[in-house]
């Protein structure tokens, strides 16, 4: 049974289409990254999954309709929606008391042991903690909940690099165990690259790319083309072209590796490279492919 299943998921705010008929299936034990630019519909998608917003179309999360059964669903789902949503007035010890009081699957000892690794004091109020410490506290709470699905919506926004790295490290080492499912939405592509098992790009409420990380690694190749081979490389229909230090870097989908190796230096693109290639407006891609190298649009 899929953890999340959506068909024709649609959400309209006034005249803005936030989600334009998304089909989605996330199996148990996956770590899906939903990646998109600001305003792409990432948060709307995660809000729909969490029962925070109504929607049109079909959506089941762990066998339930999140909009009508949020309370029951939240026994099996935890989420961090944005950084800094912990109430600022509450004391650390009391937030532990409260979650232990209302959540049947919260293991307080576990949360305490996560907190013991940080410098967070039990008597502090949340408003006295730094932004990074608040994120640590929230993560400690969430990791101590024995949930089946964890949804993270821009969980590291505004944190410095040390906290961001630590955040994903703890998540992978101390939490993820292959029976849980994690959905993370972000536009900070680099930091989730090594975390994900599945990748989804969305833009303007539509899925523009969906693949597993194995597929991503086998499908996409990037070639730094030697100047004399540029025309030949372009003939192979790259999906994107950019200029790095005066040389053309072309990104190919399902191209023959040996054929590309003859044209220049072949390497695996990062998610960020693919993201830029997929998200560039079509006109840019066309320009990138056809225009002469001097008048290049560089993303």
């Amino acid at each position: 049974m899929a953890c999340i299943e959506a068909r024709g998921l649609r959400k309209v705010f006034g005249t803005t289409i936030a989600l334009d008929g998304i089909d989605l299936r996330v199996a148990e034990g996956r770590i899906l990254g939903i990646i998109g630019p600001n305003g792409a519909g990432k948060t709307t998608a995660s809000n729909a999954i969490l029962g925070l917003t109504s929607y049109q179309g079909e959506l089941t999360v762990l066998g339930r309709d999140p909009w009508v059964a949020r309370e029951q669903l939240m026994r099996d789902v935890s989420f961090i929606a944005d950084v800094a949503v912990l109430p600022r007035w509450i004391r650390v010890s009391r937030i532990l008391d409260y979650v232990a009081g209302v959540h049947p699957r919260f293991d307080r000892a576990k949360a305490e042991s996560f907190l013991a690794k940080t410098t967070i004091k039990r008597a502090s109020k949340v408003r006295e903690l730094s932004k990074g410490m608040v994120a640590q506290l929230h993560l400690a709470l969430v990791m101590a909940i024995d949930a089946k699905l964890l949804v993270l919506d821009e969980p590291t926004l505004g944190l410095d690099i040390l906290y961001r790295k630590q955040f994903y490290d703890s998540l992978l080492n101390d939490y993820f165990d292959r029976s849980r499912t994690i959905v993370v939405t972000t536009h900070q592509v680099e930091e989730v690259q090594d975390v994900l098992t599945d990748l989804m790009f969305i833009n303007r409420g539509r899925i523009v790319l969906e693949c597993s990380m194995e597929e991503f690694e086998s499908r996409y190749l990037e070639v730094m083309v030697n100047p004399e081979h540029v025309a030949a490389a372009r003939a192979l229909k790259p999906i994107h072209e950019r200029q790095v230090l005066g040389r053309s870097v072309l990104l190919f989908d399902r191209a023959d590796r040996d054929q590309l190796a003859a044209l220049g230096e072949v390497r695996r693109p990062s998610i960020a490279d693919l993201f830029v290639a997929v998200m560039s407006p079509p006109s840019h891609k066309a320009t990138a492919r056809q225009a002469d190298p001097g008048g290049k649009v560089n993303e």
């Binding site: 939240m74 099996d76 929606a81 912990l86 959540h103 049947p104």
Partner: protein, 311 residues
């Protein structure tokens, strides 16, 4: 839907039945009420400050108490009683007014503050329903504040009684007159009855304020009050009547003539339990109409919270 037993059959997730999902349904409510008290310390701090002021003010007023008491004892018994009871009744009335004000401002912020500081996203990430949340917030003005007022008034009155007795003994006046004219247990029974009557009567006010605090994006106080004012003014200008204004007044103070029998006295005093008329009060349509409105406002606030996110 709230019954945890329903979950297992309707879900095909195998570990569901293994996991320890058993929890008494009232537990989240209990913790949510405690949470409200952690967040809104003014709920008890404001009444305690008023109590401290009352005790302190009364302590100063005991200068010359013995002379005044000798003068009072020359009056006829009814006037004696009124004069001796006066500070105790005043203290109780001030406290009832205080908790009303605290309740009003609490309700105006209850469903607005969590949206303003975005913490609603955290509260909604926990298995606590909107119904539980809104109920926990209604319990504060309807149950917690009246009980708190009762406890504090009793404590203040005991302190005042002791202060009076000590001062009178010190000045060779028997304190028995105070104790005789202030039958404590009878008065506390009247007080408890009155607090319950007031809480029930004011329930629609709190319900309305909760609804507005869940609905308005800002200026909850204005949204709560201005529409009432507007209707009153509109009615006055258009029809030159003031039914709406009298209705609002009735909602604020109308409990008194139905909950108590003042037996045609000029001053609304209560000196016997026979003046409590719960039967008459419970058969007042105004009470039940108010409770129906309260339930409707609270139900609307529950429904609304489902759609609400951070501001």
């Amino acid at each position: 839907m709230n019954n945890p037993l329903n979950i297992v059959p309707e879900s095909a997730i195998e570990s569901q039945s293994i996991a320890p999902a058993t929890m008494s349904p009232t537990r989240p409510l209990y913790w949510s009420v405690r949470r409200e008290l952690w967040e809104n310390r003014s709920i008890y701090i404001a009444p305690l400050i008023v109590a401290a002021v009352q005790v302190f003010g009364f302590a100063i007023s005991t200068i010359g108490l013995a002379e005044r008491r000798r003068a009072v004892l020359l009056l006829d018994p009814a006037k004696q009683r009124a004069a001796i009871e006066m500070p105790y009744d005043l203290a109780a009335m001030m406290m009832i007014f205080t908790v009303f004000i605290v309740g009003v401002f609490y309700c105006l912020d209850a469903l607005h503050g969590e949206r303003r500081d975005r913490s609603i996203l955290f509260w909604k990430s926990l298995p606590v329903s909107d119904l539980t949340t809104v109920l926990s917030k209604s319990i504060i003005p309807l149950v917690v504040l009246p009980l708190l007022a009762f406890a504090i008034i009793v404590c203040v009155q005991v302190i005042l009684l002791l202060e009076t007795s000590v001062v009178l003994i010190f000045h060779d006046v028997s304190p028995a007159t105070t104790w005789a004219h202030f039958p404590v247990f009878q008065n506390w029974l009247v007080l408890l009855y009155g607090l319950i009557a007031i809480a029930l009567w004011h329930a629609p006010i709190y319900g309305w304020l909760l609804l507005v605090s869940g609905w308005a994006r800002r200026a909850t106080f204005l949204w709560a009050v201005l529409p009432l004012l507007a209707i009153g003014i509109f009615e006055k200008i258009t029809f030159n009547t003031s039914y709406f204004v009298s209705m609002v007044k009735y909602r604020l103070m109308g409990f008194a003539p139905d909950a108590f029998d003042f037996q045609g006295r000029s001053k609304p005093t209560i000196d016997s339990l026979a003046q409590l008329t719960p039967g008459k009060y419970l058969s007042t349509p105004g009470l039940w109409i108010g409770l129906v409105f309260a339930a409707a406002f609270i139900a609307a606030a529950v429904r609304l919270r489902r759609y609400r996110g951070p501001l």
